[in-house]
């Protein structure tokens, strides 16, 4: 097995872990943890592909964009969590309906 295949095999395991977490949990915090893990897998995929094709500069530029987007998504998700906690008193994903205006 080549180095590239080994890396992507481990990335597949990381992404599986993240997706599993998002699938089984109802807590908003754990959903975001799962999302973070999946996005880390995507980042590793991108940088590995960049290294393989000798295009690391482009891969880095894309990664920086991705990191910014990730921060905004997490901040928005945690803002929803705090709002949900204030209104419904829980961190349950299924109670987000209660935030309807």
């Amino acid at each position: 097995m080549s180095t590239f295949a080994t890396e992507w095999y481990l990335i597949a395991i990381i992404m599986f872990t993240g997706f599993y977490c998002m699938l089984v949990s109802r807590s908003i915090v754990r959903q975001l943890v799962g999302l973070e893990i999946v996005s880390k897998g995507a980042m590793l995929t991108l940088i590995s592909a960049g290294a393989l094709t000798n295009n690391l500069v482009m891969a880095q530029a894309l990664l920086i964009t991705m990191i910014v987007i990730e921060v905004v998504v997490v901040a928005a998700g945690l803002a929803l969590l705090v709002k949900n906690f204030r209104v419904n008193g829980s961190a349950d994903m299924w109670k987000l309906n209660g935030l309807k205006g």
């Binding site: 597949a12 893990i37 880390k40 590793l44 000798n54 500069v57 987007i69 928005a76």
Partner: protein
């Protein structure tokens, strides 16, 4: 086993730990360790800019945000914890996936690597960010503005009724 593969392995272990952790605080800390490992992988690949961003933003800022949020909801989570059975099923599920993937994924990935078309690899990160991917920068600014707008709309200013 090389240093490189070891870092990937540590990332996977910390990711599983973050999902399996009973306490949300442990989960947030493990997530920070995942970020640190990913940043070290970036440095090892020869991508220092991405590594610095990952280390400062993901391992730093996002962890602070997570710890802040967790400290708020911790009491409720401890009072009515989630069903642990589904989380305890992760190791067997992951083992089944890993064994199945071991047989099917590597041949496909090796073929995928054969399709790669090597680029020139020239230029600097400054050139790539400011010249070649300028729309990305605009997108980043718009994304940050969207984030601020979301926070503003989720927490509107309270008007006192007299």
């Amino acid at each position: 086993m090389t240093y490189h593969t070891l870092l990937f392995l540590f990332t996977a272990i910390f990711a599983v730990w973050a999902v399996m952790a009973r306490k949300l605080l442990t989960s947030a800390i493990m997530l920070a360790l995942v970020s640190v490992c990913v940043a070290l992988i970036f440095f090892d690949f020869g991508a220092p800019w991405a590594g610095v961003f990952e280390l400062s933003v993901c391992a730093g800022l996002i962890t602070v945000l997570f710890v802040g949020a967790v400290s708020l909801v911790r009491t409720v989570e401890e009072k009515s914890p989630e069903n642990r059975t589904r989380f305890q099923a992760l190791p067997p599920a992951l083992a089944i996936f890993a064994i199945a993937a071991w047989f099917y994924l590597p041949p496909f990935l090796d073929e995928l690597a054969g399709w790669a078309r090597p680029g020139t690899g020239g230029g600097t990160i400054g050139l790539a960010l400011w010249d070649m991917r300028r729309p990305d920068l605009l997108g980043q600014v718009l994304m940050l503005a969207a984030g601020v707008f979301v926070i503003k709309s989720v927490f509107p200013r309270r008007t006192e009724n007299k």
